[in-house]
């Protein structure tokens, strides 16, 4: 009779604890509450209505520069969304999401030299994202583990979105930094409380799904306002230089 290969015996206690942790992880997967809080500029009041044709017939290039917070794929997604935002307002949008192409065209121009190339874009929007701070509150995670997820474990980070707007020749029209903070709370007790608080609230007022909604709304309205301000400055400078030309 051949010998059968048997797995080494696993004690009942180990199996139970593994199953308990797996159950805990699966059970808590819906217990993440992520919130966004504006820090600087993102909550400034805006006048522009992004649903109106504010940039009719304007050629806008959106350049999302991959970097610290923007991977190449995320830069592509951001560029697509921002491009759609301006297209919806009547602009002809070109997006650039690969590193270096913009620099080839404008950054490395010979100093003081004039190029014969006619600018192909009216306005160029450069977007960069960076992390300014992150904090993993160890005390909260210790409390989370000790309390079996009654206490929430808290992780937070702050980000800055650098916005640079130039005209087609590379002339700097505006620079701004939009700053915000993301707070992630992981825990059964906290998630239950938030879900209870959300009961009866309209979908667009719920805390549970507020991150993407509020961040997108703030970011896109601010970008629209900044772009409109830059467009008007550009128009004034264009008209002034046309008057001064012989």
């Amino acid at each position: 009779m051949p010998l059968a290969l048997r797995p080494p015996p696993v004690s009942r206690a180990v199996r139970r604890s593994v199953l308990a942790w797996l159950g805990l992880v699966v059970g808590l997967s819906g217990c993440v509450v992520r919130q966004y809080q504006p820090l600087s500029t993102l909550q400034r009041p805006v006048i522009v209505d992004p649903t109106l044709p504010n940039f009719a017939d304007l050629d806008i290039t959106v350049h999302c520069v991959p970097g610290e917070l923007l991977t190449r794929s995320r830069a592509g997604v951001l560029c697509d969304k921002v491009g759609l935002l301006f297209e919806a307002q009547g602009a002809n949008v070109t997006t650039i999401d690969t590193e270096g192409r913009f620099a080839e065209r404008f950054g490395d121009a010979p100093e003081g030299g004039e190029t014969d190339e006619t600018p192909r874009h009216d306005l160029i929007l450069e977007l960069r994202a960076r992390k300014t701070h992150s904090s993993n509150r160890l005390f909260s995670w210790a409390a989370w583990a000790a309390s079996f997820s009654v206490f929430p474990g808290v992780w937070e980070s702050s980000f800055a979105q650098d916005v640079v707007i130039r005209d087609g020749s590379g002339f700097l029209l505006a620079t701004h930094t939009l700053e915000g903070r993301l707070v992630t709370r992981y825990g059964l007790g906290h998630a239950l409380l938030v879900r209870l608080a959300d009961v009866g609230r309209a979908r667009d007022k719920r805390v549970m799904d507020s991150l993407g909604r509020e961040l997108s709304e703030d970011m896109y309205t601010q970008l629209s306002q900044l772009m409109l301000n830059a467009k008007l400055h550009w128009s004034v400078l264009q008209a002034a230089s046309a008057e001064e030309a012989p």
Binding site: P38, L39, V46, A143, V150, E214, N229, H233, V236, A240
Partner: protein, 203 residues
């Protein structure tokens, strides 16, 4: 008990406020070096052999007026008026012709209550740059006003500048810095300079 523990992080951090209250705050995060330079003593000094903690200072200031009290344009313009006035004063003094001038400031802004604030901040920024500033006002005749207010802004301001000089309202050696809003949807200011009847757009 569970509820108290679960809401503890809300109580600990002052930024964990409802969105309406967050909108009243303007915050910036300062590194250890920046915090020590701008607000000495708030953060403990870094240990000579390094620190296990990454200490930063989150500096928040509350707006003087609630967000819904003012028109969004007024709120946006007034919030960064100091920076805008400094930038305009720098651009204006760089663009002005050489020599000793008396600087006058006027603002054409939709809200009359905001106009004195704009002109005062700009005058202060000009004085900080060491130029002579006057409170004298320039004025146009009724006929000029009637014609100029019918013109497009890009033509109206140069025409008004020309008439200021011709009518003697703007004297020789005077420099007039004019701030204005050209489009009802914008939240930043444009500016132009009038010297000897010649108009120059600054931004």
């Amino acid at each position: 008990m569970m509820a108290v523990f679960a809401i503890l992080p809300f109580l600990v951090n002052p930024l964990n406020l409802p969105r309406e209250k967050q909108d009243r705050l303007e915050c910036e995060r300062l590194s250890h070096a920046e915090a020590n330079a701008r607000h000495p003593g708030v953060l403990p000094p870094e240990k000579p052999r390094g620190d296990y903690l990454d200490r930063t200072l989150l500096l928040c200031r509350e707006r003087i007026a609630p967000p819904e009290l003012r028109h969004p344009r007024d709120e946006s313009v007034l919030f960064e008026l100091g920076e805008q006035a400094s930038a305009l004063a720098e651009a204006a003094t760089s663009a002005a012709p050489d020599g000793d001038h008396v600087w006058l400031v006027e603002a054409n802004y939709p809200n009359a209550q905001v106009v004195p604030k704009l002109t005062f901040a700009t005058k202060v920024a000009l004085m900080r740059r060491g130029v002579t500033v006057s409170d004298r006002l320039v004025a146009l005749g009724a006929g000029d006003v009637d014609v100029i207010t019918r013109m497009e802004p890009m033509q109206a301001y140069p025409a008004a500048c020309h008439r200021y000089a011709e009518s003697g309202s703007l004297r020789e050696g005077d420099v007039l810095l004019t701030l204005m809003v050209l489009d009802p949807r914008e939240t930043s200011l444009h500016a132009g300079l009038c010297t000897d009847g010649r108009w120059t757009w600054l931004r």
